[in-house]
Subunit: 393 residues, 4 copies
């Protein structure tokens, strides 16, 4: 079968030291310190054979994620942008849905409690948590000490087929009657990024009560999907701050009640104005530039009359955020970091929301085939017009 | 001014002992043990004069509550139905909105942080919590040790004017632009019963996560309003079980996704069927007959595959509920009691929901004048057709 | 190696229907409906060989649990008392500690993140949760849909050696320096029942704040161990209600601040007296006779001035508890069921408490050898003198 | 009666603008921007007369707080150090206990539910929350929009008598039998600062589960009292980091299990070493120099294997803390601000802890009379030897 595979050279930067879980020449937790000269090739591979707990899926849809773009993007010195866990060469693609083709006898369908049967529509977690380390045993799989990642360190879904352990799969069959087959699979490929947003605002941010106000800083896919989740959760005002007009419009279509262009207006003032001076219960930092938006975030908290704001950091950034503790003392506020999408009932809640009307498929602005993956990985390095580009192999 | 006043005779049943907070001949915490031969009269009273922390309101709308009906309803032996705190004669009426006519200088508007000004549209809590006892100081005003109740032990709102301490008022001005004046006040009179429902399912029931299923047992006003709140909170399925067809239809119009007639179908089976066997995260007991619906409630929990169900008891009943602990052990479930509507940000959250589209005004099925209160108190003793009858003085 | 094995005859009662997960002639979820004429034999078995994720332990200590006693105890008609999951013949014993003898390369020690090495002191969960069903994936292993149980449906620890998947083991090495080897293993065999208590009062009961009062109904091992945990958690008063004097004394030695003999005094009155009328934040039902103690429980809640009491049902019982909803409404109280000991960080928290001074080893009142298991299983059917009888093979 | 009164000149710095709640010449929320040339005088005042809801207390003990010191301390340009709410001249003193001398008929004793009677031993909150603004109504009195403060903007307790509204008082009678009269009052004067610590680690920090590890950065009174609370709450290790040896020793005596001198050792390394690499569940920033200790805090979180750390900022500081979001994402951690001591049942929980053995009276290192207040306010500006200096008028 044809697969879209990323290659790069193992060429550690000076001073790089192999980490305790790194494997020389093959796997590292610090990608941008090691991998150089990334290139994408279409590679022919054997269709994998599922083991007793595994499932073979025919891939139906697979979105391109920002991290795919960052693995393919090189700095001027040739090193890849993406800083995290990577093992190349690797078939990319981790936001996917597919149809069960074959399943091992111990691959249990959580929907039925019975082994998976061919034909079942499913989507998959991307985080291959071990289930036996301390964080996994305690119920925190997003912080597995022995994590692997589909499409980063294990072959992913830019391919005709993919093999996944049944543990990580979730049935999409609830979506079939409302949406039909094609849209079910498109939505299925969005369950992973929607779960990243759900984990951020609901699990880590503590959720909201119907009638609360929220602010989303940044209209990338996660920010936009967070709008949909928070509107669904009963927010009175869902304010997105995002400079790109098409993205603001998409956010408004999917759940935002107000959209701000932070280039044109002061975001804090606009939020205080829209909320009649109350501010917001959740402020999601989804720009990746926390230091830049931080003054606005603190001003919303400081001047907003509502207490108990939680700032959720979901976008990754190496910044030093200039936090003023008094703001958080006087306003009874806090900050939490958010990582991952697994556990805590997140996937099934997202699927349940979709099955009852939360149709976020319009974030997919372009559908492509396998041969177009490379050009779109390049295109997305500079083009904010497309929100989600999705492969339908 | 004309007021609708309830009179009854202080005639304690044999064995009744004056409680520690009762006042002989005047006030008791056990109404049905003391008060006999209730009758309603229209009584002329002076327009009250607000003190420094008080506000004089012109009443704009005041709903009839089941407890109003129960204070007026006599058992065959002449004693009133209503078992709680009462001091007669008393102007009835506690689900009300009104316009500020005059305000003391220390009556602070929570919306502005400044003294109330004439013209402000407001609604009111019914529970006159003291703010200084241990439960009040700890943040639990619904369990005030020195509670008084508007329309039960203090003159209420079936009148042209009412005097209320500013502490218990909440501005309705957020509703004005969306709904206009008349509907603003009608909705305002529904904030109190909606807050009873909000306290039950959100504060005491712990709320839900978007994508959860819920079941409401009983389609009285609180049950129907709970449907609106839970749909707003993102529930995937909101199932109401209620024998009256018009009430089922109203619930469906206001947020229920499914309605069951428990006379026609087995409620537990229907819930399990609708939820694909998952059951419900919150089950609200709002029938007042918990023993009757309990077998269904436990079966939903026991057979439902979802864990962590919370049964919320909101309707009052003197029943012994036959609870089987194993059901709650095996399914990781629980039961909580719910009382009141004050504190915890409930009123402002309800108003915020209404201001952003949660229009529950259709629960008001009839509007009446002062002269019609008595006949409607009588009518509602036997007629389930009307959901909420509202006085517009 | 010699093992203590329970045999019984598969002889379903009239009307028994094989459940969906039962296996004819071998395994049932409803033991007392099927198994007849239990008898214990010492059986010679092969030392098991650990697979890649498994560990072979030399058993160092294994407590006798009430369920062991109930599996061996026959009703007059010959059916066993124990109502739950069972597959006979089966080596009994599930409250155990042991030393690693041999380990598969994929059996990871949560303490180190590396494969288990011979010599490590460990204890084990008893619930063999599958890790892949919906409850396990969501973080609720105590409610696994595909549960097996060590010493009930899989060979247990009344033996020289036992084989356990590494997933269920927790290192005891933290205890070694404080307690020395023998006591480390004795305490290790108590981690499982202590975790049952911890799950009940901390995880399910919501824990307490330092300065709260608590009541424990029933001084069996779980009740006594709950005293130790709640005292450790900062309770101001820990009141145990238990008719047996030696058990009351043991509870006092391990953390209870007050002990009541409910035969001699009214438990509710005593609790209200001791707590100066405040009542209790947590009331643990650990008697197995909830209907009998329920009037006291509700009176403590009703008359206690403290709000927010949580009744935790941990002991199993087939009762119909006569619950009065008003008590829970007026006092802002609730009831939860508790099952199991796995997940939620419970085992490592219990071990951490033991490692820093929570020495509960005195609940072990008798130490025996393999040959004495049968007579002690018989003795414990009627003798409340012994609290915990522990095998040291 | 004689009172210790602070005088200063209203001399706003250039650019200072009167705030919305400031009163020209009299009261400001920004003390250090306005008040100049502070001086302390002993002033004769009338014994105040309690109103209907008020209580007259004979002051028995009153601690000197850091903010007292900062009100008296001048910068080189003559402006006071203390940046917050102040109205001079004002009798200082807010950490106090006293005996009821006279009480208004509506001053209710939360202990009995009845009016206060002479002789009752009480302590007092310092925050005079209004009970009617939005934060107060919602249950957050520490964030009252109309706050006054005893000893800052209202006459405090460095006096023979003080008048306080009954709302803010809490009975100390629970302490009498264990401690006797004098120690009861000394402990009573410590309830306020202990409640600041309790609010920080329990209410805002979310508390701990028995068996958790915690770190306290800074051994001032709040840090030391936090050690006592967290040890009482069941922490396995309570690590204090503090350069002053006597303060470390006091912390060890009151609940810390380990003490670090951050001048001598790296605090992060020491914490990781003591906790066997696990890190801490709560890290309390009580130094007032958050930027300085932040690298250690983030390293404890980043390298600690335990997840879910909460950093609680309790000390005030105008710093920009250099926060790295990735640390909080990868380790599932968060930061919260903490302010105040009122509400949430904090005072009665602290008193309950003291009544059952949490004797923190040894933080009082010196007892003085009225005439020695001024010299000790000066002394404490530079002398870290004394932890708590307490006036016994």
């Amino acid at each position: 079968m044809r697969t879209v595979c990323l290659f790069a050279d193992w060429d550690p930067k000076p001073g790089f030291k192999l980490g305790p879980k790194d494997i020389d020449g093959k796997l590292t937790y610090l990608g941008s310190k090691v991998w150089r000269h990334p290139r994408v090739k279409i590679v022919e591979k054997e269709v994998p054979k599922p083991g007793p707990t595994e499932v073979l899926l025919e891939v139906k849809a697979c979105g391109i994620c920002g991290s795919d773009v960052h693995m393919f993007r090189a700095e001027p010195d040739g090193y890849i942008f993406y800083p995290g866990l990577t093992a190349f060469p690797c078939t990319l693609g981790h936001e996917f849905s597919g149809q069960v083709v074959e399943a091992g006898p111990l691959a249990i369908n959580k929907r039925t409690g019975l082994p998976y049967e061919p034909g079942e529509a499913v989507c998959s977690e991307e985080m291959i948590w071990c289930s036996i380390c301390r964080p996994c045993a305690d119920g925190y799989p997003n912080h597995c000490e022995r994590l692997q990642e589909l499409g980063f360190s294990i072959d992913g879904a830019y391919a005709k087929y993919i093999k996944v352990d049944g543990r990580y799969l979730w049935s999409l069959e609830e979506l079939r009657s409302l949406y039909g087959e094609e849209k079910m699979y498109l939505l299925g490929s969005l369950v992973e990024p929607t779960s990243v947003a759900y984990n951020a605002v609901i699990e880590r941010g503590g959720g909201i009560k119907a009638g609360d106000n929220v602010v989303i800083m940044g209209g990338g896919p996660v920010g936009i999907l967070a709008c949909a989740i928070l509107k669904r959760s009963g927010a009175s005002t869902v304010i997105i701050s995002e400079p790109s007009k098409p993205r603001r419009e998409m956010a408004l279509a999917l759940g935002a009640t107000h959209a701000i262009d932070p280039i044109e207006v002061n975001a804090a003032e606009a939020v205080l104005d829209i909320t009649r001076g109350m501010g917001a219960k959740i402020i999601l930092e989804a720009t990746g530039m926390p230091s830049m938006v931080w003054p606005d975030i603190e001003r919303i908290i400081w001047e907003g009359r509502g207490l108990n704001a939680t700032v959720v950091l979901v976008a990754r950034a190496d910044d030093k955020i200039p936090m003023n503790g008094e703001v958080f003392q006087v306003r009874r506020a806090g900050v939490v970091g958010s990582q991952g999408h697994s556990g805590h009932g997140i996937f099934p809640h997202v699927i349940s929301c979709m099955a009852t009307g939360m149709d976020v498929s319009s974030v997919i602005t372009k559908k492509i085939g396998l041969d177009q993956v490379e050009e779109n990985l390049a295109l997305l390095q500079c083009n904010p017009q497309e929100v989600k580009v999705t492969l339908m192999p």
